[in-house]
């Protein structure tokens, strides 16, 4: 597939009108590609060059973020657009990110025409870094080298002569320190000096993964060795002790896993409990906003849409921000320090057994708090197949939204006093459901490994970078970026679905809604009820008469084999907004015709099944419902985020059908065995 695209000649900018227009557009922008090996401080330099003038988009058809930024060239009144490409080692298309980098650097990506490539080179690994650089020079791309990490190299006793390197390679070499933001101005000057208005036209590219290429690679490296020998002086230096000890500890048989568990515990605490404070704040302020708007706006359809549809929808999106921010705070630090690579190093064998990668561990564990940030964090997995499988199974881990549902249902089947030795029985059942999720992940991932075909083989060839102090600016920008992506891209879908759900829950067929309004408007009907009770009853009657109620009744024959009635059917539909809505919906439904002010639990416990004359919420129904909630993809935000991460509706829909199908099957088995 790659070969075909390679054979295509590059688009001729003059002949096609469309591209011609693009060329015109390009007159005042100077396109620069920022490229280099992974861990060479490329992103750091990108942030130093552009600051907040950056934007994350996406390449068409693939799931790799396209980061572009701007800075102005001194004295020329020209804006330079810089593209931060994924880190690669050589111009060999392989994985998704390597292919996209390859395409852009060789001019095969339509609409992206480069004027210049800035290659970030790690001075402490000069030989390996120069490989990519030499390939670019050979292809005739104008190159400016940013010689980064000179200080790291000097600590190791490696001193590089930039002038000599520049003379050997015949390209400008600018020493920079991306971390301390030193030398940035010199780099901008060099870029400015290299300014050429016309984009590079590439010679017809040759397929680089042809047989016999290995020999060429070796010959290229031999030449690079000569250059390196000419401009590098090595003096023996003792290793620094702290990184060595740290490295020993984090990959140790016992301490490695112990530290990993501690880190996981911290992450889990952060997204589980610390983020609940800002989340509650967002929640309560949105409730206040709703009340306020309802007071100042005239009653009517538009106001209802605003206060009951759009505002709670936006609130539901913003609710996830604290969790996303916390998770990416940790992930950015772990990635930046080089710890994440070591976590995958110690976990790879375990995870490979179920078809995943060592990097799948953190997304899976954070899935226990919330699937949304967890699915977003699967980006750190490089292999497409492993990333897809991980994202696919994350919703099987019981997330925090399922806890209210579990607690309500467990309290119905097990009295809170029941204990086994000193352990509370309810707690044991809850834990069993978490374990069920873990088992489901193992089984499903093992199954999917066989189902999902992939041309891209699973590799674990990666650098273990040295330990570093994290860059707070990078961490901050990562968080900002992730939050922005979620609210803008996944948020649109979430908002649309929440408006649909609102319409379903507040409108009914024909004039059923008006009839209820009228009935409650008449004073004599309310009789002995006070105002609050009357409004609660009106709400629940409206819900059962709405489209959601109609749908719930229509669903009844489908969900009857699971032991569910139409009331549960309604709750299943509305809890698509978020799983915990189940409890609220049940509370609303069960307030119909009930004036005893009982708690929902007691009310549900008293419910008698008219068909059998037994308790409706006995062991079979409750367990079946819990199993259903453990497996079903009952979350529109997960679907939205899955779409955003895979760029295709195929995956979220497949996930929805597959997981809900499993949920149905297992609830069916549970109910039929128990009843």
């Amino acid at each position: 597939m790659i070969d075909e695209t390679i054979e295509k000649p590059p688009v001729n900018p003059v002949k096609s009108d469309k591209v011609g227009a693009e060329q015109f557009h390009n007159v005042n922008t100077f396109r620069i590609a920022l490229t280099g090996n992974p861990n060479s401080g490329k992103s750091c330099l990108f942030n130093a060059l552009t600051g907040l003038h950056q934007h994350t988009g996406n390449y068409p058809g693939v799931t790799i973020d396209k980061k572009t930024g701007w800075f102005s060239l001194p004295g020329k009144n020209i804006r330079a657009e810089i593209i931060d490409l994924p880190g690669i080692y050589g111009l060999t298309p392989g994985s998704e990110d390597e292919t996209i980098t390859y395409k852009i650097l060789t001019g095969l990506e339509k609409g992206v025409q480069l004027n210049l490539a800035v290659v970030v080179i790690d001075a402490s690994k000069l030989k390996r870094s120069l490989f990519l650089c030499s390939e670019l020079i050979d292809r005739g791309i104008p190159v400016v080298i940013a010689l980064n990490m000179v200080d790291v190299a000097e600590n190791k006793g490696i001193s590089v002569d930039p002038e000599k390197l520049s003379a050997e390679l015949r390209v400008p070499v600018i020493p920079v320190n991306a971390k301390k933001q030193a030398g940035i101005q010199n780099l901008v000057q060099a870029v400015s000096a290299a300014y050429r208005a016309a984009p590079v036209t590439f010679p017809k590219p040759v397929a680089d993964n042809s047989p016999g290429n290995a020999g060429r690679t070796i010959q290229r490296y031999r030449k690079i060795s000569e250059i390196v020998e000419a401009c590098v002086k090595i003096s023996p230096r003792s290793d620094r002790i702290v990184p060595i000890v740290l490295d020993y500890l984090v990959t140790h048989k016992f301490w490695g896993y112990f530290l990993f568990l501690t880190v996981l515990f911290l992450i889990f605490q952060a997204i589980f409990s610390w983020s609940s404070y800002p989340m509650d704040l967002i929640d309560s302020s949105f409730i206040k906003l709703r009340i306020f708007l309802r007071q100042i706006l005239p009653a009517g359809l538009i106001t209802d849409l605003f206060t009951d549809g759009i505002i709670p929808g936006i609130g539901g999106i913003l609710m996830f921000i604290p969790q996303i921010a916390f998770l990416f705070f940790f992930i950015a630090i772990l990635e930046d320090t080089g710890y994440l690579a070591r976590v995958s190093f110690i976990m790879d064998k375990l995870m490979r057994k179920i078809g995943l990668n060592g990097r799948s561990v953190i997304p899976l564990i954070s899935g226990a708090a919330c699937a949304i940030p967890a699915i977003m964090s699967t980006r750190t997995i490089k292999n497409r197949k492993e990333r897809l499988v991980t994202a696919f199974v994350i919703p099987l881990i019981s997330c925090s939204a399922r806890i209210p549902v579990y607690i309500l249902l467990v309290s119905l089947i097990i009295p809170s006093e029941e204990k086994i030795w000193i352990f509370n029985m309810q707690g044991i059942v809850l834990m069993a459901f978490y374990l069920l999720g873990v088992i489901a992940v193992t089984v499903t991932a093992g199954f999917l490994r066989l189902m999902v075909s992939s041309k891209e083989p699973s590799y674990f060839i990666m650098e273990l970078p040295e330990f570093q102090v994290p860059q707070w600016k990078t961490v901050g920008l990562t968080i900002l970026d992730k939050v922005k992506v979620f609210t803008v891209e996944a948020g649109q879908i979430i908002l649309a679905i929440s408006i649909i759900l609102w319409v379903l829950a507040s409108y009914g067929p024909g004039d059923s809604m008006e009839k209820i309004e009228k009935r409650y408007a008449g004073k004599e009907f309310i009789g002995h009820l006070n105002e609050r009770e009357a409004s609660v009853m009106k709400q629940s009657e409206k819900l059962s008469a709405s489209w959601a109620g109609v749908l719930g009744r229509k669903l009844e024959p489908v969900i009857e084999p699971l032991g569910f009635d139409w009331k549960i059917g309604i709750a299943i539909i509305t809890s698509f907004a978020a799983r915990e809505v189940f409890v609220g919906t049940m509370a609303t439904i069960y307030s119909v015709g009930d004036i005893s002010n009982q708690t929902l639990r007691n009310r549900m416990a008293m419910e008698i099944n008219p068909g059998t004359g037994k308790k409706q919420y006995g062991l079979p129904v409750c367990l079946s419902l819990m199993v259903f909630y453990a497996f079903a993809l009952q979350c529109m935000s997960t679907i939205a985020v899955m779409y955003r991460e895979t760029r295709h509706w195929k995956w979220p829909l497949l996930q929805l059908c597959f997981l809900t199908g499993i949920a149905y099957l297992l609830s069916f088995i549970t109910y039929q065995i128990l009843s």
Binding site: T92, S124, A214, G256, K349, P457, Y459, I461, M462
Partner: protein, 184 residues
């Protein structure tokens, strides 16, 4: 009577235990001696069979493959290959020519080790990589023939290994390390 029994029991027990441990020690020692002898023999035999001109004796095992070349033998320890009665020095680029790659089994039998067989702390020089996609990836990352590798560590569960190569740490799975052959 009973008192005697009680007294005699510990003695009996002790003597049994002693004789048992003596047997085990004897067997273990015997096995050890035999293994040492056997391993020495095999080392000696290997030395004798070296067909390298440096050691003098040309006792080349001949293989007749399907391809155009009729006879081939070599000594990877000294990087020589005999090809159609001429001895060729094995160059690091040369091992990539298809004809040599086809005889990689010869290299393995003649004392080259896979990188995955090396233990923690051991080091060696890369002799060649088997030619496929993995090795292309490894080459680009600096795993070149002639480079010195040190096994820095293995993951606690034994699988991915970390090697020190050209100034940095690279981690790779054992199945990927199978593609790298080490001499020395």
């Amino acid at each position: 009577m009973k008192a005697d029994e009680i007294q005699s029991h510990p003695v009996k027990f002790r003597s049994l235990k002693n004789s048992g441990s003596f047997q085990i020690k004897f067997v273990l020692g015997f096995i050890l001696v035999i293994t040492i002898l056997l391993s020495n023999c095999s080392i000696l035999r290997k030395k004798e069979k070296c067909d390298c001109p440096k050691t003098g004796s040309i006792n080349a095992p001949s293989i007749s493959p399907k391809g155009g070349v009729k006879y081939m033998a070599g000594c990877p320890r000294h990087n020589w290959i005999s090809h159609q009665n001429t001895l060729i020095r094995v160059d690091d680029t040369m091992v990539y020519y298809p004809i040599f790659v086809r005889y990689k089994s010869l290299f393995i039998t003649n004392g080259l080790r896979k990188l995955s067989d090396l233990k923690k702390g051991e080091q060696g020089k890369i002799a060649y990589l088997t030619d496929d996609e993995v090795s292309q990836k490894l080459l680009v990352m600096g795993c070149l023939p002639g480079e010195t590798v040190i096994i820095e560590k293995t993951a606690p569960l034994g699988d991915p290994i970390a090697i020190l190569i050209s100034g940095y740490t690279l981690s790779l799975r054992r199945q990927e390390a199978d593609h790298i052959f080490i001499s020395g």
